[in-house]
């Protein structure tokens, strides 16, 4: 038979064959489930573009008020104002909120609605290798109507580590999948089989075939994003964490400290060179990658548990994580352009293909150098009015508007519920100390007076807190208590600089608290507020290279206003003092 006749013969059979087939109902049900999940999930997928329609990538809406996640390397080239297209065909203005260049995450806000379709957040620690997963986004910018492209595959690996480019775009503790991820997918969602958001995709392994999917793509885990969410909402450029120490395998395959900074909190908590790392952040550590994976999911400033061993003895401590970059260094790095790990080829251009190995052609570099200035911040285009209302420029911030907004929110919740009273009235607290004796504490606008059974302590605010800050061994209890009243009484009109930091669990445990950072006269103080708007902790650093004075406030309700029933003062690993408040006045 000629091939033409054979083709007709085959075609003639197929219609009959199709009606003769019975497909198992479990297969049809699985297909219907998939269709339903995709239908629901795709509504939260955003096609992100710069304001003139160029460039872009993908994103995913996580709350009805319009907050959406994407990659830093997608948002940055778009500038401050960008556009987001949804699967219903509508385009919305969007504004940058916060950026995490090290972790390659950015938070933007779509504007114009308060009922955006949002993706439910999953738990990336519950994801297992072999689970099915969907990736949705706009690979190769194929979509002309913002309908996302949907790809499907399995989770190939969890808790994977992908090295950064310099110090930026590190994918620690990431999820690996073989669902197709291509240029244009960056910033878009990784959904589990039930349509819950478990990751933000942004990288892939490419080598011999240019930048097209070859079965290995990587997504930032949603649990990492959850740790950073408060920080991203603060409108700042967020830094990642370091322990102040590096680790490596020793000859016996144990993970040990290979380098440690004496100025680090880990050193102050007792960690030394050659100590074996047993666990970090509650996770057993068996490889240096595992160590980097744990660090990579926390913002600078968090406190996490560390377990280490020396000479057979195990020690458990809480360490405070410092920043990967020094003050201002991260902002400076942003000003330079960086390489896009997943550049989208221009229309009509093939994705870059490497010359095949084995021939005498030059080797193309693994990460192609973009033309100079490609991913530097774009020139100022006219910002749409709706975006202007949600943007405030300030050096060092992604978008100061959101910092101001959250700072006001936290202060209003604190003061609104607690009525701190008129700014000129002293606070007077009295009760019992931990040792059983009486105390009387007077906080005024000029200083602090603490009367105890054994004597009195006085401190006057005069600009310099003194060295060492009194009383000795407390880390600065008196000025810390003074600042407490100052913040309540003066509110947003205080001197110095008051910033919203983000959310951090107070004392390294429990639900993340809103944190305000007050920098005044060279001294930085952090104030932790719980969900009910109560101040639960205060940390003051007269010396940034030493342990802070930590004050914990508890047992609210019995006293009026902002005064708690119990005040504990900690410094280093010791509790310095504890006060049970029996009477107080702030009016």
């Amino acid at each position: 038979m000629t091939s033409m006749l054979r083709a007709i013969f085959v075609l003639a059979w197929f219609p009959a064959a199709a009606t003769a087939l019975a497909v198992d109902s479990t297969v049809l049900q699985a297909q219907a489930d998939r269709i339903a999940v995709i239908e629901r999930a795709k509504r939260s997928v955003v096609a992100i573009f710069a304001s003139q329609g160029e460039g872009g990538g993908s994103g995913v809406i996580i709350s009805a008020d319009g907050y959406a996640l994407t990659n830093f390397h997608v948002a940055r080239p778009c500038g401050k104002a960008m556009l987001g297209g949804l699967s219903d065909g509508r385009v919305y203005d969007a504004v940058i909120v916060g950026m995490d260049p090290v972790g390659d995450v950015a938070l933007v806000k779509l504007l114009g609605r308060d009922d955006f379709p949002a993706a439910p957040l999953g738990d990336s620690d519950a994801v297992a290798v072999g689970d099915w997963a969907y990736v949705m986004g706009n690979p190769f910018l194929l979509s002309a109507d913002f309908q996302p492209t949907v790809t499907y595959g399995v989770i190939s690996g969890v808790h994977r580590y992908q090295f950064p480019s310099g110090t930026l775009l590190e994918y620690a503790d990431c999820i690996q999948t073989d669902a197709s991820i291509n240029p244009g997918n960056s910033g878009g969602p990784l959904f589990d089989a039930a349509g819950r958001l478990i990751g933000v995709v942004g990288r892939g392994s490419f080598e011999k075939r240019g930048r097209v999917n070859v079965g290995a793509g990587y997504a930032i885990s949603i649990n990492q994003v959850k740790n950073f969410l408060g920080h991203l909402k603060s409108g700042r450029v967020v830094d990642h964490a370091t322990l102040g120490a590096t680790v490596a395998f020793d000859a016996d395959g144990r993970v040990v400290v290979s380098n440690i900074l004496e100025s680090s909190d880990a050193y102050r908590r007792g960690l030394r060179y050659d100590d074996e790392i047993v666990a970090l952040g509650g996770r057993p550590i068996q490889t240096p990658n595992g160590f980097k994976n744990v660090l990579g999911i926390y913002p600078k400033g968090w406190r996490i548990p560390l377990a280490f061993r020396r000479d057979g003895q195990r020690r458990d401590v809480l360490v405070r994580l410092s920043g990967v970059h020094s003050e201002g260094e991260l902002i400076e790095r942003l000003a330079r352009s960086f390489e896009d790990p997943m550049p989208i080829p221009k229309r009509g251009e093939e994705p870059r293909r490497k010359t095949p190995g084995g021939e005498q052609g030059e080797e193309t570099p693994e990460m192609p150098e973009p033309p100079p200035g490609t991913h530097a911040p774009p020139a100022e285009a006219a910002m749409p009015e709706i975006v202007q209302k949600h943007y405030e420029d300030r050096h060092g911030y992604a978008n100061y508007h959101f910092n101001r907004l959250n700072r006001q929110r936290v202060l209003a919740a604190w003061r609104g519920g607690n009525k701190p009273g008129r700014g000129d009235r002293p606070w007077i607290l009295s009760g019992q100390t931990a040792s059983g004796g009486p105390f009387r504490l007077e906080l005024t606008g000029t200083g602090v007076l603490l009367e105890l059974a054994g004597g009195r302590l006085e401190w006057t605010a005069s600009g310099d807190f003194g060295h060492p800050v009194p009383p000795e061994g407390s880390g600065g209890m008196l000025p810390a208590l003074y600042l407490w009243r100052q913040l309540a009484a003066a509110g947003p009109d205080q001197s110095g600089r008051l910033d919203y930091l983000g959310t951090i669990p107070a004392g390294g445990a429990g639900a993340p608290a809103d944190v305000l950072s007050w920098l005044r006269d060279g001294v930085e103080t952090w104030f932790y507020f719980d969900a009910a708007g109560r101040l639960v902790a205060l940390e003051m650093w007269p010396d940034p290279a030493a342990d802070p004075c930590e004050i914990r406030f508890a047992a609210y309700g019995a006293q009026q206003g902002p005064i708690p029933g119990r005040i504990e003062v900690h410094h280093g690993d010791e509790m310095f003092a504890a006060f049970s408040v029996e009477q107080s006045s702030t009016q």
Binding site: V10, W13, F14, A16, A17, A18, A20, L21, A22, V23, D24, T26, V27, Q29, A30, D33, R34, V37, A128, V129, G130, D131, W132, G153, V154, I155, S156, G157, H159, R160, Q162, Q176, D178, A193, S205, E207, K208, R209, N213, V214, G215, A216, G253, Q286, T287, N289, G290, R353, P356, G357, G358, E363
Partner: protein
């Protein structure tokens, strides 16, 4: 089944294969899959060796096929080092020793010193047809180190067919039955990885990267265990060794290619493959049936991979010794015996 026309038969097979697969959306099925994968992953090892240049990575994957540390993998330049390291799924780093390789199939068996290891018995392997859903486990791109498990990819067997490949940079001398896959398994580090059914039964070993130079397409394929069994048994029985355990001393009156009547191609590359350029008429080589374009692959059961290696190996043999030469002629392996007769002294 013979009476049913082919299109319907094919369509029915596909429907049957789909029905047999578990519904992916069901949560119960997902954790079962996870457990089965974990069992397979326990036997997958990460191999680190020679290389580390662009296009020639220094890592690949292997499968433990016995509790005493036998590892099945693909023969490649990665194994060409005395400092071979095998990292188990639990993170243990062991020294690997190359036991032997099969020149035609390009598979190799390593040995590590350990007991009671998790393994998959090659005898437990099953075969599959086009449409079978599979998982491929390998350390592609070297993502996993230490006790991190190998990566898992999912796909379908697109077709079961014969593979004909030619010599070349990424090419292999292999030809035989393979599973062609729709999963991208042709990646750095994937070679030696394992292909299993969705319920965790052993099917095949992932092949080396293979590119068609004319259209720049890469083939994702795996070699069924059934194709390898005889070769693996031969290696385990000591049949074909990659290198002699102890090199014998140089012979006092050594043999050479010229003496047996072989002219090899000019040795101009760092490792020139020992192709026969010409055979001297009437020589022992001619009488043994060797021909131009034959590729010498083994001498007395030991693999020789370059002109230099062949010359050196011949120097260790006495001029009048009987030698066994294995050559690749087209797609087949031919072994001949020859010796220089005493009267033909030069």
């Amino acid at each position: 089944m013979n009476a049913i026309p082919t299109p319907i038969r094919t369509a029915l097979m596909i429907a049957a294969a789909l029905a047999a697969g578990s519904a992916p959306a069901a949560a119960g099925a997902e954790s079962e899959t996870g457990e089965r994968l974990a069992k397979v992953q326990a036997a997958v090892v990460k191999i680190f060796g020679a290389g580390g240049f662009r296009g020639l990575e220094a890592y690949q994957t292997g499968l433990l096929i016995s509790p005493d540390g036998h590892v099945l993998t693909m023969m490649s330049p990665v194994l060409d080092t005395p400092a071979l390291k095998v990292v188990l799924d639990d993170g243990r780093r062991l020294d690997g020793k190359l036991l032997g390789a099969d020149a035609r199939l390009d598979v190799a068996v390593l040995r590590v010193e350990a007991e009671g290891l998790p393994y998959i018995d090659p005898l437990s392997a099953v075969s599959a047809e086009a449409g079978t859903r599979v998982f491929a486990l390998s350390n592609l791109f070297g993502v996993a180190i230490g006790n991190e498990p190998a990566s898992v990819q999912q796909g379908v067997i697109s077709i079961v067919t014969d593979l004909a490949a030619r010599q070349g940079a990424f090419d292999i001398p292999f030809s035989g039955r393979v599973y062609v896959l729709d999963a991208v398994t042709s990646n750095p580090g994937s070679a030696g990885g394992v292909l299993v059914t969705r319920d965790g039964r052993l099917l095949a070993i992932l092949g080396k990267e293979l590119r068609n130079r004319r259209n720049n397409t890469w083939l994702n394929y795996a070699i069924p265990i059934a194709e390898l069994r005889a070769a693996v048994d031969a290696i385990l029985a000591g049949g074909v060794a990659a290198a002699p355990a102890e090199p014998p001393a140089k012979a006092k009156d050594p043999l050479s290619a010229g003496l047996v009547g072989l002219v090899l191609i000019p040795d101009i590359l760092p490792r020139t493959p020992p192709y026969i350029d010409a055979v001297v008429a009437g020589s022992p080589a001619a009488r043994a049936g060797l021909r131009p374009d034959d590729l010498v692959v083994s001498l007395d059961g030991s693999l020789v991979s370059s002109c230099k290696a062949l010359a050196e190996a011949l120097e260790h043999r006495d001029r009048f010794a009987t030698i066994r030469l294995g050559v690749l002629r087209g797609r087949s392996l031919v072994e001949v015996e020859l010796s220089v007769p005493r009267e033909e002294r030069r």
